[in-house]
Amino acid sequence: MNQNTVSSSESVTKKYKKRSQFAEIWRRFKQNKGAMVGLFVVFVIIFIAVFADVLFDYDTQVTAMDIANRMKEPCMEHLFGTDEMGRDIFIRVLYGSRASLSVGAMATLIGLIVGMTLGCIAGYFGGAIEDVIMRATDICGSIPHILMGIAIVSALGVSTMNLILALGFTSISSFVRITRAAVLTVRNQEYVEAGRAIGQSEAKIIFSHILPNCLSPIIVQVTLRIASAIVAASSLSFLGLGVKPPSPEWGALLSAGRTYVRTKPYMTLFPGLAIMVTVLAFNLVGDGLRDALDPKLRK
């Protein structure tokens, strides 16, 4: 980059120093149209997920069967058609956002909490603890995630909670690695040294100095992980290891409709699209965040 612009953007940053860091990130994020579309979609999906039970009644509209109306093609009454038990696919897909999102989010949360804690400990304390943690991470990371998921769900039994546990467990290793790497880069910065110098406790240093400064790669990882957990959940559903019926989780809908993929393609099309749109949206947001949080990648 040419030196003029470098110096000018330096002065730009100087000028906007009074703006908060968040506003600056938001400003950069806003410029990424794809990310904005993604964010909008994510908000819509979260909205639907949160208010799903206000919009629809679980017992009468989501899970109640109506054999007389089974396998209806999409029409005005049933926008996405009905499934083999005569349940409205449109309502099930909308309600399914709750199951799918919560599976994705909970799994990621588990990975985040465990992974971040271990990563922090490994990165901050180093030494033998780090070796142990990183070796364990290598072990878990070296088994392909989907296989690990299959093994865990098979071992613990099919249930939504176990699905979340399995997906959460498999995402731990990436959080450990990312957190550790980020902690390593900030560990020896002056402000951390300063904290140590004035005798702050280790916990205080980690929580008030180190973590806030390595959040950005973690935040990006969270959004991407939610997306991949949703896809992974659908994969496990395909193998019969997904959520318990009659929950309308998207992977379960997709998997249930797969025998009708030729005769009733709409049964897989809509849940498939729901997964696709959601995963795309989360990925777009993740990519946008990555760019916005890491200005050195941008001009």
Binding site: T63, M65, I67, E84, M85, G86, G240, T259, T263
Partner: protein, 539 residues
């Protein structure tokens, strides 16, 4: 209900007739042959078949492909015929191994035994065919029969069904190299049917099994095991030294294609010639395709098994309440796309002992009747309803269990769904931690065959149910020779089971095998045990 049943049966018959038209020559020839003149029949069989083929295709000579490819859905784990009773493995065993007696649609035909005699139902003498060689070159003789039964009795991996049967054989003795005598522990009217099961009692070579660990893969059949790759394919090649009629085809490959949709596509795409079990939702695609045909048959009986030791399903009144809250037709429509026959009693549709006219004995059939269901519920230990956990393994049963959940809710019974895999189920059963389980059982046509589910500690008695009267009646049936008297006893058995409802009969699934119209020579069988030994595909 009856009309539907009749209709379905008619369809099956028609379909199987059409399907068998080309193979009919073999059948009729075989039917004509009686036990005494089996050798002649075998000789006569071949010219009859060629004759039929000649008249069929008088002008252009029909050429056949060297290989027939069959797409299957179930992985066959082992070629050990005593270890496996699944239909999918039966297809292969039927081609490579032969039993002493052959059973087809209600009749017996000689196979490795040319003739046999029965004395007082307890002693059977088989006169073995001479000059027959196993695939490894060893000669078939009485020693091999003795070895086969001994192995089944002693090998720990022998399938429980096989073991249960061989345990009814008290002893096998060799009279000479080609004569053996079986002594039974008790009279068994179904003995010959059991003996005909290739899966269990195809003859193994003592020499081969002693020489190699996988010696069990050598049989005497027209086909020799060639390639075994469980997740991909199992190939058998023609046994050119076969004692009977040689197949036209040189090689048969069973390709495992687990996804039903993909399997049917492979058939439509001419990648395979026969597609085992297309999904019911895609039967219409087969019907619409002018190149394809389908053989449909009713398969095993699908039950809700109740663990009678576990609350709340320990109470017969509670189970009856559930029975009268269930609508079988809805299950068939919802989970099977209508391709099934509602079950009314706990027996095979085609069994001689079938009985479902419960009104005649002062009972009523299970039909959805919420008032009656609530009556029974009120009589039960759980008048305010309860929670029942339904355990199941496969995809289709996932829908069934949801339908049951929906139906039973109407009488205040809550259903928890417990999806598991077969290992999980095995563990639950072992630890007795389950309440209701969805499964199917396939019975033979023999009158006693459903006993294995209902006698105390029977092979498929998952329920832990035990009824002294039923045990007694089954025992009597096995020895009773008067057909009418036997039927009366079967009636009583089914009526007792109906009253107690330890297992609720839901439906007989209508299964299908789709195939290219160029395929001929398959022996379609109404229980689903198809024989592909003489399958051939026109070029």
């Amino acid at each position: 209900m009856k009309r539907v049943l009749a209709l379905v049966l008619a369809t099956i018959m028609a379909l199987s007739l059409v399907a068998c038209s080309s193979g009919a020559a073999d059948n009729s020839a075989a039917t004509q042959a009686d036990a005494q003149s089996a050798t002649e029949a075998a000789k006569a069989e071949a010219p009859a078949a060629t004759e039929a083929a000649a008249t069929e295709a008088a002008v252009p000579e029909v050429e056949y492909k060297e290989e027939v490819i069959i797409g299957t859905d179930t992985k066959v784990n082992s070629l050990d015929i005593q270890e496996n009773c699944a239909i999918a493995s039966g297809y292969i065993y039927l081609m490579t191994h032969e039993p002493l007696v052959h059973y087809y649609e209600g009749e017996f035909f000689p196979k490795l035994a040319e003739t046999w005699e029965n004395k007082d139902g307890l002693e059977y003498t088989f006169h073995l065919r001479k000059g027959i060689k196993f695939h490894d070159g060893s000669e078939f003789s009485a020693d091999d029969v003795l070895f086969t039964i001994k192995r089944a009795k002693e090998n720990p991996t022998t399938h429980a069904n096989v073991k249960a049967f061989v345990d009814t054989i008290e002893s096998v003795t060799k009279v000479d190299d080609y004569t053996v005598v079986f002594k039974l522990t008790e009279v068994n009217n179904d003995f010959l049917i059991d003996m005909s099961k290739t899966g269990s009692l195809g003859m193994l070579s003592e020499e081969a099994c002693a020489a190699a660990e996988d010696g069990y893969k050598y049989g005497t059949g027209p086909w020799v095991n060639s390639e075994f790759f469980a997740e991909d394919h199992i190939t058998v090649v023609r046994n050119d030294d076969y004692w009977g009629e040689l197949p036209v085809t040189k090689k048969v490959t069973f390709r495992l294609i687990p996804e039903a949709s993909a399997r049917l596509i492979a058939l439509e795409n001419h990648e395979i010639d026969v597609c085992i079990y297309p999904d019911a939702s895609e039967y219409s695609l087969v019907e619409e395709n002018p190149e394809l045909d389908m053989f449909t048959y009713t398969s095993g009986l699908n039950y809700i098994f109740y663990n009678v030791d576990q609350a709340p399903v320990d109470d017969p009144n509670f189970r009856l309440a559930l029975a009268y809250a269930t609508d079988n037709q809805q299950i068939i429509d919802g989970a099977l796309g209508g391709y099934g026959v509602p079950a009314t009693t706990t027996n095979s549709l085609t069994a001689v002992s079938f009985f479902d006219d419960f009104e005649s004995v002062g009972q009523s059939k299970y039909t959805r009747d919420l008032d009656k269901a609530k009556e029974y519920l009120a009589k039960s230990k759980y008048p305010n309803g309860a929670t029942v956990t339904i355990q199941f393994t496969t995809g289709q049963r996932e829908i069934i269990s949801q339908i049951l959940q929906s139906q039973w809710k109407d009488i205040g019974v809550t259903v928890e769904l417990d999806k598991t895999d077969s290992a999980g189920r095995a563990a639950a059963k072992q630890e007795d931690k389950w309440q209701a389980y969805l499964a199917s059982v396939a019975y033979t046509d023999a009158g006693n065959s459903f006993s294995e589910t209902f006698v105390t500690d029977g092979g498929t008695n998952q329920m832990g149910w035990s009824n002294a009267r039923v045990d007694e009646l089954f025992k009597q049936c096995a020895v009773e020779t008067d057909e009418a008297k036997r039927y009366e006893m079967y009636k009583e058995i089914q009526s007792i089971i109906h009253e107690e409802c330890p297992a609720y009969p839901m439906y007989y699934a209508l299964k299908a095998i789709a195939y290219n119209k160029k395929v001929s020579g398959v022996k379609w069988e109404s229980r689903g045990v198809m024989e592909f030994a003489y399958a051939k595909v026109e070029k």
